[in-house]
């Protein structure tokens, strides 16, 4: 993935922009998975399960399979044997939604001191997913682990080529103690509220290292490594809005938009020359400079603006106002010339009188841009930034630069009169 662009938005939102990825669901799961890792002991008591099954639905009972000790067996509720230890219950995938809604509604009393979590889809029995009954106590959590690493078994191993994640514990004795106390039970390893695996603890595990195997692809294993290394996020993330723009659409609309702006710009340039002759050229120089200034400003890392559509809108308004400033000045100069003032006087008076007009109209717009920046969000903020920068640049170019060029042309005696 390319380096993402991350911005904060408001009090509790973050905008993440990633250029050039195709697989949005992978990006989404990387963002959404907060990397919450837990080790919890499985409740293997068959009587607890009986209560839960009764609660779920009597019609469903025929579909229930239990996984115990690595073997999957099917039992009718009325005829449950007492298997030594239950690891998980297998639920038909099509019943998952139903089970979820029932559990959410009535399981409060039954689930004292315990919780139910879904695992992965079962490999042995197609179309079934494991449901685990777990303690509430978290034995080890993500911040107690170190050195997570995605690794692959060598191909001559019994697990030939399979990916796994190895990790160490900050306190090896704690893990040793837990495995000793719960010998014979299952220990569920949970990543972002999904049980990845629940191996049986056959003996006390010393050395402070563990591995998680969960039928990962290489990509998944590496993503999990990334998430674990980054550590558990302090807050849960909800995706509030997701926008994917195909490069072809982006390119398409950028091309069309760019083309139309170029056409507009050139027609304005031609119009100004046609209408104001040499002064038009002057105005055009100011306008091109103005655009360059804005782009230079916005490229400044301090401002950190991403050019979006509202940003372009701000630029259009700015260019419009820059043209207007020139028109105001030139029309004023014409007026003064019609009063039979000398050319130099007309320029002096024209600029002087036009300045106040431009100052007030630009400052009013600047006031509105600033308040949009302070109180608006997202797109509106982007508009306000380009507009504010644009107004300042255009006042500078339209008033200061054109006047300086004009006056220096006269003062050097280079030109006596310019056609307007």
């Amino acid at each position: 993935m390319t380096e993402p662009l991350i911005q904060t938005k408001g009090m509790n939102q973050i905008i993440v922009e990633i250029a050039g990825i195709q697989d949005t669901s992978r990006a989404e799961s990387l963002i959404k998975n907060t990397g919450k890792l837990e080790f919890i002991v499985v409740k293997d008591n068959i009587n607890r399960w009986k209560e839960i099954i009764l609660l779920i639905d009597n019609d469903l009972q025929n579909y229930f399979y239990f996984n115990y000790n690595g073997l999957i067996d099917f039992y009718e509720l009325s005829n449950l044997p007492s298997p030594p230890r239950i690891q998980s219950l297998l639920v038909k995938n099509t019943d998952k939604v139903k089970v979820n809604s029932i559990l959410n509604n009535n399981s409060k009393e039954v689930l004292v001191n315990s919780q139910l979590l879904w695992g992965k889809e079962n490999e042995g029995l197609n179309g079934f997913t494991s449901l685990y009954l777990l303690n509430r106590t978290i034995e080890i959590s993500g911040n107690e682990i170190k050195d997570p690493k995605a690794q692959q078994y060598p191909f001559d191993d019994i697990n030939s080529g399979q990916w796994y994640i190895s990790l160490g514990f900050n306190n090896p004795y704690k893990f040793e103690e837990i495995t000793e106390d719960n010998k014979g039970k299952f220990l569920a390893i949970i990543l972002d509220n999904e049980v990845k695996m629940a191996p049986r603890i056959n003996q006390k595990i010393t050395g402070g290292y563990a591995t998680i195997t969960g039928n990962f692809t290489g990509k998944e294993a590496k993503d999990i490594e990334t998430i674990l290394v980054a550590g558990e996020l302090p807050a849960k993330i909800n995706i509030a809005s997701q926008l994917q723009v195909d490069a072809s659409l982006g390119a398409d609309s950028i091309n069309a938009g760019f083309k139309s702006i170029i056409i507009a710009f050139i027609s304005v340039l031609i119009f100004m020359i046609f209408f104001y002759k040499s002064f038009g050229i002057l105005a055009n120089i100011a306008m091109v400079l103005n655009l360059l200034y804005i782009i230079a400003f916005l490229s400044n890392p301090w401002i950190n603006a991403t050019l979006s559509l509202p940003g372009i809108a701000g630029m259009i308004l700015t260019v419009g106002m820059a043209i207007d400033a020139n028109v105001i000045i030139f029309e004023r100069i014409k007026e003064e010339l019609l009063k039979n003032k000398s050319f130099l006087d007309a320029i002096e008076f024209g600029y002087q009188k036009a300045f106040r007009t431009i100052f007030d109209s630009n400052l009013t717009t600047l006031v509105s841009a600033l308040s949009l920046y302070l109180f608006g969000s997202g797109a509106i903020k982007g508009f306000a930034v380009t507009l504010s920068v644009g107004i300042i640049c255009s006042m500078f170019t339209a008033i200061f630069i054109t006047k300086t060029i004009l006056l220096s042309l006269f003062n050097t005696g280079f030109i006596k009169k310019i056609s307007i």
């Binding site: 408001g10 949005t24 669901s25 995706i239 509030a240 809005s241 997701q242 926008l243 994917q244 723009v245 195909d246 072809s248 659409l249 398409d252 609309s253 069309a256 938009g257 083309k259 139309s260 056409i263 507009a264 027609s267 304005v268 119009f271 100004m272 209408f275 559509l309 509202p310 809108a313 701000g314 259009i316 308004l317 260019v319 419009g320 106002m321 043209i323 207007d324 028109v327 029309e331 014409k334 007026e335 019609l338 009188k353 007009t357 007030d360 109209s361 630009n362 400052l363 009013t364 717009t365 509105s368 841009a369 308040s371 949009l372 109180f375 969000s377 997202g378 509106i380 508009f383 507009l387």
Partner: protein, 302 residues
Amino acid sequence: MIKIFHNSKINFVSKFNKAYFISLSLIIIGFSFYLFKGAEFGIDFNGGTELIIEFEQSKLETNNQKSELINLFKLNDISFSKIKTYGKNKIQILSEENLDKDFISNQISNLNFNIVSYNKIGSTISKELKNDAVKALLIAIILIGLYIIVRFDWYSAVGSIAALVHDLMIVISILIVSSVQFDTNIIAALLIIIGYSLNDTIVIFDRIRENINEFSNVDLDQTINLSLNQTLGRTMITSLTTLFVVVSLFVFGGGSLSGLSYALIIGVLSGTYSSLFVATPIMMFLRNKYYIDENEKEEKWQ
């Protein structure tokens, strides 16, 4: 020297009554459309999913493609609220629900359709967008008003803000009548229109302010007519050049810019009109009514 409207002596003030009538009837038409038809909000405001699907141009007419898509969607129980052509060979589909991109992508891949844009917005963010936009605009308008009161006077402040609100209402009315969908682009357009309208009005008010100072013994009617005629050349040149820009955005800008540029064309026309026929009459009316009552010494026209 090309002179346009120089020496023009149009009696603007005498046309103010007609102007009130035109503006009010346009707004009333727009709002009755709003009541009967309602505005179309994009998913930026309502939350939901927007899909833009591209197809091979050579294959069929766009309308056939559209009906093919509609059938496909109905067959698969995918609910959508709107489907329309978008540019040359694209179709835009809007749904209030969260559509699953992969599922749809699989369904349409046999038909040589291709999803080029997928946009999903939750309802919290859309609510926020609406509130933020309205709040920011209101505060902006208040601050603009304060600035104009300081630099000009309160008659001008009321006049400029009335013109600004007028332009927004005209643009929104016409957008509703022409069934344009309201989304972030339209917000951007409305922001430009506010800026444009304000700029246009202030330039004219500045000239009126100057002329009132210079010809303090002349009737307000005459001073205003003089000012409007003096600035008419600039008003026309600026709105023409701005129209150049927005019309070329509309013609050459492609599907994604069409709503924005359409709104801008109306906005520029309305903004130019409102400076002359909304802002100025209201300012004149208020000044005629209240200026004499106030302390004679008050000299705000500097």
